[in-house]
Symmetry: C2
Subunit: 96 residues, 2 copies
Amino acid sequence: MLVVITYDVKTSGVGGNKRLRQVAKKCESYGLRVQNSVFECNIDAAQLVKLRYDLIKIINASEDSLRFYRLGNNYKSKVEHIGTKDTFDLDEPLIF
Amino acid sequence: MLVVITYDVKTSGVGGNKRLRQVAKKCESYGLRVQNSVFECNIDAAQLVKLRYDLIKIINASEDSLRFYRLGNNYKSKVEHIGTKDTFDLDEPLIF
């Protein structure tokens, strides 16, 4: 199934940039970065459990925000992209 | 139906900050901002056509990116939030 993961990590506090990099790297190991803070992961239920668990360990729940959208297996007609399709370099500092 | 709209607007170029503000304000007139660049809009098909048209007029398609995820009417079990639920002030400069 397709799972869209979006996140906001507060980078102004202690460890924020590190958490942001860790979240991005973890998501990239399961899917494709489609925007700065949006990943699309084509994963099964067990992988989602693991990814969710790992992300919860990384974030600071009082400062950061994670959202999961489960689009199921028939997702192609549900997703539309408009505009540029730049790719993102995970080694960038990712400071917004 | 729930439509999740995510966007990246390139703010380093000419007019980028203005486009970013305009995209956010347009999305907010249809839905709820749940993260910096993520809106959830509970709208019908006609509203989606209008919103999509308006957003395409605002963005610079060679620099900015828009994605639409249609989650249908039975979306509540498909969406999960973890972490903080800060609200966002649309009058902020929104410079990342």
